[in-house]
């Protein structure tokens, strides 16, 4: 497929998402809720672009728009820029304290004084990545509750979630740094629950919670959970190679 993005001709596989095509060709499209590991949120709508097909122009979200024919794409037209700016103002009013704002302000700032009552201190912009991460793990400890303007991310009954294994995936994917996760004296606290941390048998660094280890074990009763941090794991592999080489006499 031939796709012309901002005047540049790019090649795309049939069905490939526009955002991926643009990325591969070094064309920048802003995103907030996109994660290569958890694609398809399509909730922040920052990745909108104009697609011209058969003479007609439409606005689409590039992260979920599949290329199915020869199209022309404008990622940065006046209209797109105007709408993105409106979105940034809306995001600023609802989650001004989120980490995502740093980048947005750099790119789109300075913003005019906000017309609305700003939700001071709020970090979450309700992109839904944390929920998707938790769902993808199969734990499903948190979800979005309510609809419309009452929507929020929360564990069931807003109580410390029983299903949570304290893996921290939600906190890691969060673009706003909105999920509080603290570690102190071998105890990790997240979603108002405390988890005992297990140490790396190599270097002694805390690497996972006990519940996490149990969860992995329960999923694969045959396998063994190696208590090694990434660094020590790599070291072990390298050492293994070295030993193997040593034995062959090199």
């Amino acid at each position: 497929m031939r796709v012309i993005i901002d005047g540049r001709e790019c090649l795309a596989r049939r069905g490939e998402y526009l955002l991926d095509v643009a990325k591969r060709n070094g064309i920048f499209i802003p995103t907030l809720c996109h994660s290569d590991a958890l694609p398809g949120q399509s909730s922040c709508r920052m990745c909108i672009v104009e697609v011209v097909e058969g003479g007609r122009s439409k606005t689409v979200a590039s992260c979920v728009y599949p290329v199915l024919g020869d199209i022309e794409v404008k990622t940065n037209s006046d209209k797109i820029r105007r709408i993105r700016r409106t979105l940034v103002k809306l995001i600023h009013a609802s989650s001004p304290a989120g980490k995502h704002m740093e980048d947005l302000l750099e790119r789109y700032g300075p913003l005019p004084e906000n017309r609305f009552e700003v939700a001071e201190g709020e970090k979450c912009m309700l992109c839904g990545l944390c929920v998707s991460a938790c769902e993808a793990l199969g734990t499903g400890a948190i979800s979005t509750i309510n609809r419309g303007t009452a929507k929020e991310v929360a564990p069931p009954f807003k109580e410390p979630p029983e299903a949570c294994i304290g893996c921290g995936a939600c906190a890691h994917v969060c673009p706003g740094d909105a999920i509080e996760m603290k570690e102190q004296g071998g105890i990790r606290t997240i979603w108002d629950r405390n988890f005992e941390m297990l140490e790396c048998t190599g270097c002694g660094e805390y690497i996972m919670t006990r519940q996490q280890q149990e969860y992995i074990k329960a999923k694969d009763p045959e396998g063994t959970v190696e208590l090694l941090c990434e660094k020590c794991k790599r070291k072990k592999t390298v050492d293994g190679f070295r030993d193997a080489f040593k034995n062959t006499g090199f």
Partner: protein, 597 residues
């Protein structure tokens, strides 16, 4: 004898009337020469006048019948052959009583296709449906037509979806028929989430077999063997009526294996829905049937390719399905001759609000708005001035009184900034504040949006903030531009049609009633007296006759004065309920407020 047992009439006690007839006729048989048959039917449309009783073959039409009237009807009409004058319908235009409903403006200007059987048959009786030509179209399709020919017919008829977007039904079916895969599904959207709408409910309650037959024909056309009808949980009567009809259709072999001896098999089930407004959106509805949370998904790939359980799926609205058998039976040419250039056939509307005849109507596409509101609807009650009509459900737009010549079809409603939607039509008079109308719908949408995508959730939240400010006297002049700026983001960047259409109420009121926004913002005044913070009632000395009626009626005791001389409103006590204005016989209570008084 047909007793309307639609939801509106049932609420007014029509079942009691029905039972009374049955009881009376059991004992009164000696004086009634003909054998009387009483039937409980679906909604007649003129709910305002319910309970409604029709007597065939003379076509006598009685309104607001009570159980106590039954004796008179049996004695006078059934035994004596005379109408009971006091129960006949009074034409609001002429003030005369008319015998048959067909003589009334309300019915005369209508044309019934989707509602063809409603009020004429007992929905619990499949033979009633068959007697009026039911299942003939299915037989014709299976016997004499190939699947491709059925699709051709539907395409040539020009029918477009009645559930909202108006997508050509034939094209949808063709896409699905051409999609790869052996398993395909047919879905009927009976969610009907628009508050106050009852078009689809009436069809499900009053003529369930028309939907089943339509779906069976659609299934044959696209090659589906399984269908689902999604009905909201609150619609208990519709649920009952549909499930009974499905059972009957199965017993008679209109559903199931080898339908009517053909090689086509099709079965259907009911899915009960939680009933959130957004669940009516096609991808949310499909998610909901699959047992997942009812939120819209990005659908750059159509359901006809990948729909229910990722299989090719045709999803149509209740009214769309109910049209299908008639098109096959009478031919696409006949259907195509009704309506306008790109909008064919008829449309059902629920006509409500400040209009004499509220109820369910079906009119040919292209009829003018004025004809609907004034001829069928009988105009505005209480001698008030007509201001606007809101069409298309909560995310429709408001069309001003100056555009009453507008032909009602998909294109012209769209170009007026509104939409056909599923057929809501709310009439507004001079006592309506258009800013408040925009605020009301924006609030509804802000609460009913699924809240997943940012422009819709945050855009509606902030639009509502602004509209609240304007209605409460805190509006700025720049607010109108800010509203339009957010509207653009919603329309262009939202994920589903809820967000994309949500700007309509605000955009149309800004377009047609800008001066009311300005009054609210600059003069701090609400001309309709609806926004309490911007309303001040005053008594015009030159008009007040000093009767004191207002003072007597004021619940806050805010009106003082001496009989014979002009009364005065104490603004510190006034709660702005507006009762004084409503009771004054001399029009002496005016609405001021803000900078004007």
């Amino acid at each position: 004898m047909l007793v309307c047992c639609g939801t509106g009439c049932l609420a007014n006690g029509s079942h009691g009337v029905y039972r009374e007839f049955e009881k009376m006729l059991k004992y009164a048989d000696h004086s009634v020469k003909v054998k009387a048959v009483t039937k409980a039917t679906g909604c007649n449309g003129l709910c305002e006048m319910g309970p409604i009783v029709k007597i065939l073959p003379d076509d006598i039409f009685y309104c607001r019948v009570k159980a106590s009237d039954v004796e008179d009807i049996v004695r006078e009409t059934l035994a004596g052959g005379r109408p009971v004058e006091r129960l006949l319908y009074t034409d609001p235009a002429t003030g005369k009583r008319v015998k048959s409903h067909r003589e009334t403006d309300f019915y005369k200007n209508q044309q019934k296709i989707a509602l063809r059987n409603i009020g004429e048959i007992d929905p619990a009786n499949i033979d009633d449906y068959i007697q009026r030509g039911g299942y003939r179209a299915l037989a014709k399709a299976l016997d004499k037509m190939s699947a491709g020919e059925v699709i051709d017919e539907i395409e040539k008829s020009g029918i477009r979806g009645r559930g909202g977007a108006g997508f050509p039904t034939g094209r949808k079916w063709r896409h699905c028929a051409g999609a790869n895969g052996a398993t395909k599904y047919i879905v009927c959207n009976g969610d009907e989430g628009d508050p106050g709408a009852f078009m689809d409910r009436s069809i499900m309650e009053g003529d369930p077999h028309s939907i089943i037959e339509g779906m069976a024909i659609g299934a044959y056309a696209v090659g589906a063997r399984k269908g689902y009808i999604y009905i909201r949980d609150e619609y208990s009567l519709a649920l009952k009526s549909m499930s009974r009809a499905i059972e009957q259709a199965k017993e008679r072999g209109y559903l199931g294996d080898s339908i009517m001896g053909s090689s086509h098999s099709f079965d259907m089930d009911i899915v009960r829905g939680g009933g959130a407004f957004v669940c009516g959106e096609s991808s949310a509805l499909i998610a909901s049937i699959e047992g997942r949370i009812g939120e819209p998904r990005a659908k750059y790939i159509h359901a006809t390719q990948r729909g229910l359980w990722d299989k090719p799926t045709v999803l149509n609205n209740v009214e769309t399905w109910a049209n299908v058998p008639v098109i096959i039976d009478r031919g696409s040419g006949w259907f195509n001759s009704i309506g306008t250039g790109k909008s064919k056939g008829t449309k059902v509307f629920s006509l409500v609000g400040k209009v004499q005849n509220t109820g369910l109507i079906e009119v040919p596409m292209g009829i003018s708005l004025g004809k609907i509101i004034f001829d069928i609807g009988g105009g505005i009650p209480g001698g008030k001035a007509f201001k606007a009509v809101q069409t298309g459900g909560p995310s429709g737009g408001c069309i001003p009184g100056s555009m009453m010549d507008l032909e009602v079809d998909f294109e012209s409603l769209g170009s007026a900034g509104s939409m056909m939607g599923s057929g809501g039509m709310i009439v507004m008079d001079e006592d309506t504040c258009m800013v408040e109308v925009a605020r009301y719908y924006t609030k509804f949408l802000a609460e009913e949006s699924c809240g997943k995508c940012l422009p819709c959730r945050e855009g509606l939240r902030r639009m509502l903030d602004i509209l609240n400010d304007i209605c409460e006297g805190r509006g700025h002049k720049e607010d109108m531009d800010t509203l339009l700026e957010i509207c653009e983001a919603l329309r262009e960047a939202s994920l589903c049609a809820l967000g994309k259409t949500a700007p309509n109420p605000v955009e149309t009121t800004l377009r047609y009633f800008r001066e009311e926004y300005l009054e609210h913002i600059q003069d701090k005044r609400c001309r309709a007296g609806v926004c309490p913070d911007l309303t001040e009632y005053y008594i015009d000395e030159s008009l007040c006759r000093g009767c004191g009626l207002c003072a007597k009626n004021c619940p806050a005791g805010a009106i003082t004065g001496q009989p014979g001389s002009a009364y005065i409103i104490n603004h510190d006590l006034c709660t702005k309920c507006g009762r004084c204005r409503r009771v004054c016989k001399f029009g002496a209570v005016g609405i001021g407020g803000g900078a004007v008084v």
